[in-house]
């Protein structure tokens, strides 16, 4: 079979270790003789898996006491509604850096006033700076990485009010000072595991401040009290996520991930910056994502975009097409993407450039 390179933005590449351990657990989970698909979530073996995943999550991100880690179903999109349901009293502030922030804002508006700082004026090609966070809002929400535009906020803001971040697409790609946050959440399907499980890191003392009637499944307090087992959790997805956490740990943790991600991104951004054909979409170097590298053909070569996609695909570069809402190209360089894949893509770009 032809060697392929996986640049999909999500679901996206995971470590080979995650695939192989999940396969073993489908055959025989924890020596039970049963499949991870088919064992009670109340079995002591699955409870051990869940505990291990929670513990390793806390260890790798250096999460302080007073926070809970939850594994829930429904996707980050469900969190967009759960956050205001649980935390909005009157007003919240949202940073709008693209499609995903926008979706979160839409849900928040069902529950109260939303103050928005946006970079929509320039098609989300930069991250707003120098804004102030109002101290009378209930919380401040931002999306750390914008998979579509290719921008990333790679630092932790200082916020006078509870700060919440959607880190679906860059969690575990670098160290994070969790103590600065009230909540960090995201879908697993980029740096963690197969789609179908959502992580939530939540500071226990931020809850209980609204008297809104919250449906049980949308109530963070219930999930904390039940240790992610209020209902049947997505067990196989959590198992696979644990394997990725183990792999990150084996590699040396998030500092090592960060180093590798900077190196991979540098190789690709350098190649684009030095290319005759291609140009990066995000101007400010500091705003450029280390996870989703977006680029286009320069104006004079625009007519070659389809040709390049076909050429890249022929060379085994999969998922390089930009999001359908913006076009162009996108190479996602998540934790598990090997440097070799980035180098192969750069070679492909050079080869194409020579061929025209």
């Amino acid at each position: 079979m032809k060697k392929v390179h996986n640049f999909y933005a999500g679901p996206s590449i995971l470590p080979e270790f995650t695939y192989q351990e999940t396969i073993k657990a489908i055959e025989n989970f924890a020596g039970t003789g049963l499949s991870i698909m088919s064992i009670s979530h109340r079995s002591k073996q699955f409870e051990a898996t869940l505990n291990e995943a929670t513990g390793l999550f806390k260890k790798l991100l250096n999460i302080p006491d007073g926070y809970s880690v939850l594994f829930l179903g429904g996707g980050a999109s469900l969190q967009f509604a759960m956050i205001p349901f649980n935390l909005m009293i009157k007003k919240a502030m949202y940073l709008d850096t693209g499609t995903w922030s926008n979706k979160a804002i839409k849900e928040a508006k069902l529950f109260g006033d939303v103050e928005v700082i946006s970079s929509k004026d320039k098609n989300y090609s930069y991250v707003p700076k120098g804004f102030s966070i109002p101290s009378d809002a209930d919380y401040f929400h931002f999306t750390s990485n914008n998979t579509i535009a290719g921008t990333e906020i790679k630092h932790d803001f200082d916020s006078p009010i509870p700060m919440i971040a959607d880190m679906s697409s860059d969690i575990f790609s670098r160290p994070v000072d969790v103590s600065k946050y009230a909540m960090i959440y995201g879908g697993a399907q980029k740096n963690l595991g197969p789609a179908g499980v959502t992580f939530v890191i939540i500071k226990d003392d931020i809850l209980g401040k609204t008297d809104r009637k919250i449906p049980t499944m949308l109530n963070y307090q219930i999930h904390i009290d039940k240790g992610s087992m209020f209902n049947t959790p997505p067990a196989m997805n959590i198992f696979a996520t644990l394997q990725t956490l183990k792999w990150i740990d084996q590699q040396g943790g998030v500092e090592v991930m960060q180093k590798m991600n900077i190196e991979k991104a540098q190789i690709l951004y350098d190649a684009i910056d030095n290319s005759k054909l291609f140009v990066v979409k995000v101007d400010n170097v500091e705003d450029r994502s280390l996870m989703n590298i977006t680029f286009v053909m320069k104006e004079e070569y625009k007519n070659l975009e389809a040709d390049f996609l076909a050429f890249a695909s022929e060379k085994g570069m999969l998922g390089v097409k930009g999001h359908r809402s913006v076009g162009g190209f996108r190479a996602s360089t998540y934790n598990a993407l090997p440097k070799e894949s980035v180098i192969a893509l750069v070679e492909t770009m050079k080869e194409f450039e020579k061929s025209i």
Copy 2:
């Protein structure tokens, strides 16, 4: 390795075909060279999987035109809230046949009046009969199979108002006249696939009757319009579910499942009814579940319950312990459980009976 038999109530046994096909797709999904965990849900290969799953679901249950089939995250427990969120105007009627009905009722009460007919008076050991469904309620909801008490409603009610059933634990175990229902839903983790995906069969014309503001992820109309792809669906879980649907189809469909389930249940109920030690918990034969067979030791042998559990476990009978809220024993005999496992359990019971 010792041969084991999987009697867990859920997550529970699935066909070997489902395990093996999922393993193959983790290695190489649809010839892409990528894992089913790691390919975009927007790829044509995954879209084909989703379409095939939806189509086969409709074929196997003979679902008429005018219905949509959705695959969502969040579990059946999230549906408990979504149903009244979308469909309650003023009042609904719920049949209370156990823990799961109760949880659904609790959520409905957040949205309007709930009229309840219950069998709680006798610890849910029977299914209420002879009740009438009020024609002025917005909908009538029931849980077809009660995994904890071991009762099952094995027929389709005639309802003057939209009828909704939670069939988490007996979907695809028998033919259902879908045309009698406004909605049928359930978690996958009994007869379909790994935990983490929820199916919803919904009649398109029942929506749009409330002016309640519904968060996007909780809005059925959104999921219908987007074909279960409003957000990233639990792709691997849906893939595995499709394999189980294929297996059901290969076996001959739901009529064959029903025949096999009746046969398996008969073997076990007969053994219990003819035993010196054990007694079935559900008196009315017509109310006895074909999916979860619950039984206890007769009063005079109560002290032997722990001994029997240890003995059964030693013989490789896993998951035979009754739900923690009721005790006793429970053998779940879902579609994928082979008759051989039921026979092995009966032999174990007889052997224990001889040994005392």
